[in-house]
Amino acid sequence: MKPRSLVLAFALLAWPALAAEPVPGPDAAFTPPRAERFQLENGLSVLVVRRPALPLVTLALVVPGAGSAADPAGKGGLAAFTADLLDEGAGGRGALELAREIDGLGARVRIITDADSSVVLVTTLSSTLPRTTELLATLVTAPAFDDAEARRVRADRLTQAQLRRDRPQELAADLLDAALYGDRAPHGRPVAGDVTTIGKLTVADARAFFGRSWHPAGTTLVVAGDVEATRLRAAVAPLAAWKGQDQPPPAPVAPALATPPRLRLVHRPGAAQSDVALGVASLPREDPRFFAWEVVLNAYGGGFTGRLTQRLREQLGYLYHVYPELHLHAGGGRYSVLAPLFTPVTGEGMKEILALAADLGARPMSDAELRKAKQNLIRALPGRFEDNTATALAFAELVVGGLPDDWYARYAAAIAAVSAADAQEVAAQELADRLAFVVVGDLGKVRPQLRALELGAPQLFGLDGRRR
């Protein structure tokens, strides 16, 4: 039955401007920030984006290839484990001494690993920048890889994996990636590894992984904040001492599965809500349809006015919020949404989710909906560069994706050029009928609700993440 309510739902977006509504003037011109580039003698690239508003700086040391896609077989979690060890001792300082030093600089160090890369993300005061970059250089030039620390960190990471059953949303997300890419594929395995692999990782493994995957020649340091290029050159000079092996080959990237399992279930007795993770493989940025895809995803799940929120929350009251995420890597990516649905309406909610996706592929969006999605993407762009960390990560994404530094400068025009037909076409090809779901909830109540959804035979998993 064609849901008539969908037509009503989006009529609101098609209201003509009402009598009292002010008419905004022309948009202010906006040019995305430009990055200056230079290279150190060891091949390390430095990208600088000057933002002098506050006396703060964010540094992102981006190491493509040092991600979990490069974990050897049977050593799932090695990339993340290696990254975790880098601030547990370096340059003759132990873990706690390093932590005190970092705090004293007003700095914060996080090392983030995903399938494609590791990033050492540092935020600091601009007054302590030279000492901070010196410390960062120490982490990569003289990591301790101490055996005792490694055992401690490994034990903590193993416990974290065991406690994942108390993090059902994370479990749902992990099982979704596994569904989309394949349970053993580079992008389908959990980044942190699992309880069968973490316990076997050794400090020698980490040292070897660091040696072959962390190297200055393929690495970019993105710096955003109260900094200018001349003084920065002096500050980053200690990083030139980082010697690495020759650049390794790029990490394997297996594409998403052509026909992923569409329904995975995990029983969590008594759950008041079902933690539902849904997603599809994403087009890569290089695809000419990418901008139409961005528009579709914005209309589907973006902001508060995306279809998912308007229908599931504002009309039906089935949930509080949805949490969309687009993760891109070379050659592809994954779009996913977390939708915590009230248990008794889990099936109904999923039916709506599917119908909204199907509709985007079946009919072109109205002018009003298309305009809203496009203008949202274009006009929200300046806000992405309002804080140092978001700016640094925006450029880090380009680095990992192998895209030119001026990609954002061309973004607005590319979005503006998207037509309703473009959007419908890419939705039909990439979204409708392709969503995969993971449901972590009280299966006694929920399973009967799912029978009518025609997602094929469900795969059952335990809270430990293992197939039943």
Binding site: W15, E21, L54, I102, L105, S127, T305, E386, N388
Partner: protein
């Protein structure tokens, strides 16, 4: 000594480098209807933000209506006669922006932002809903947002492992009837009981101009902004200021309080909590820094003892959350498998006692001062975050330009101050211990 001089140097240079104009408003005035207006001009990004701060929070709720201030906040987004339900958000998102809000024990804050050309749109929306909200209000909207809020509660509490912790701590720290006894999200029963009449009375009592501060921040022309504010907000009808219930300081806890709960979890989690100083009170900065020394990050006392050295905890943190009536000072640790909660608690108390007996080093204090300052400045990077900060300072400190004084009071804290306040405020005999343990049979 090297650390001390370095630390002082850092703090001094940060003081001059922090751009003074970012921490202070451009203009402050009051409209004829009593509404306070703060303008903050900043052309760094082509964006504007409009913030409306209402001096009402969950502490002002009536018995049997917990969660109401927050539920009401949701209703402010459901449209007016001139702005159909959904149109407000559609407009601002088409403008590259967003519309959101938060409710706490003491305040409700609405935050809109969008591209600069949408200044008038944002002000029109704010003025219209402050004036005409009730005319388009009905039971269907209430029923819908009640469902949404109940889902919010399920997500944050009912369905989250250890999710009941803050609720149980609040109930133990503050006596029944005290505005902080219940949590802002309220209870399912009370949310179900809320009626359309309750909504109308609440709006008429609390959402009056003299109880509101508006901040307009970002890329605008000052004169034009003033004109638009007067045009769209000046017509909100003047009304008497609400009488806020006076809540006396509760008597101190008679002795340590113990609360035990279970949940579907693998390992126990131990929470130690105390009442803390009010926001901006004399001891507040020192207590907050003390909490950071105890539990903020890998260099903290509790981390070193519980996670690193003795391997008792999987994670640990400590924080102070302060409101206008008082604060909550909490240390929380998740046990490693096989570690009994009692052992974890004993170790936590030992570390706290040690900090009470021997003041921290000057270096330790300088570290957390730097850390806090960096964190504070990071929280001001976006124009909407700054707008919220000005409103909060206006209403709580009586001075929208309080930021530089706020920074100064943290810089002024000494090691002796920290030692003294830890001994005063973290007395073991006035603590609440909450242990959430795995359900039997797990």
């Amino acid at each position: 000594m090297r650390w001390l001089s370095l630390a002082l140097l850092l703090l001094a240079s940060t003081g001059t480098a922090a751009r003074a104009e970012l921490l202070a408003p451009t203009e402050v005035f009051r409209l004829g209807n009593g509404l306070k207006v703060i303008l903050h001009e900043d052309h760094a990004t082509p964006k504007i933000a409009v913030v409306a701060y209402i001096a009402v929070g969950s502490r002002d709720e009536e018995p049997g209506r917990t969660g109401f201030a927050h539920l009401f906040e949701h209703l402010m987004f459901k449209g007016t006669p001139a702005i159909p339900d959904g149109r407000m958000d559609a407009l601002l998102e088409e403008g590259g922006g967003f519309s959101t809000a938060f409710t706490s024990t003491d305040q409700t804050v609405y935050i809109e932002w969008a591209t600069s050309s949408y200044l008038e749109t944002a002000l029109w929306i704010e003025g219209d809903r402050l004036t005409t909200l009730l005319a388009a209000f009905d039971d269907k909207k209430l029923a819908n947002q009640r469902d949404v809020v109940r889902n919010e509660r399920r997500q944050a509490l009912d369905n989250r492992p250890y999710g009941e912790a803050r609720k149980l701590l609040g109930e133990a720290l503050w006596p029944a009837g005290h505005g902080y006894h219940w949590r802002t999200i309220g209870s399912h029963e009370d949310l179900v009981a809320a009626s359309v009449d309750d909504v109308k009375r609440f709006f008429r009592k609390w959402y009056v101009p003299v109880n509101i501060t508006i901040v307009v921040a970002g890329d605008f022309d000052r004169a034009r902004a003033r004109e638009l504010v007067i045009e769209h907000l000046g017509t909100v009808p003047r009304a008497a200021g609400p009488e806020r219930r006076q809540i006396p300081d509760p008597p101190p806890l008679a002795g340590p309080v113990r609360v035990d709960a279970t949940d579907d979890v693998v390992v126990p989690r131990v929470h130690l909590a105390w009442r803390g100083p009010r926001f901006l009170a004399g001891d507040e900065a020192a207590v907050e820094l003390g909490a950071m020394i105890l539990g903020s990050g890998k260099a903290s006392r509790l981390y070193e003892r519980l996670v690193y050295r003795d391997r008792l905890a999987q994670d640990v943190s400590a924080y102070l959350s302060s409101g206008e009536l008082g604060g909550e000072l909490v240390a929380v640790a998740t046990a490693k498998p096989g570690v009994p909660a009692a052992r974890l608690e004993a170790a936590m108390l030992e570390e706290i006692a040690r900090l009470s007996r021997e003041p921290p080093s000057a270096e330790e204090v300088a570290r957390v001062q730097n850390l806090r300052e960096a964190r504070f400045l990071s929280g001001l990077e976006s124009v909407q975050d700054r707008a919220v900060q000005f409103a909060v300072y206006d209403r709580t400190a009586g001075d929208p330009a309080f930021a530089s004084k706020d920074l100064a009071r943290y810089r002024a804290v000494t090691a002796a101050d920290v030692g003294r306040v830890v001994a005063t405020w973290l007395a073991p005999e006035r603590r609440v211990t909450l242990v959430i343990s795995p359900e039997k049979g797990r």
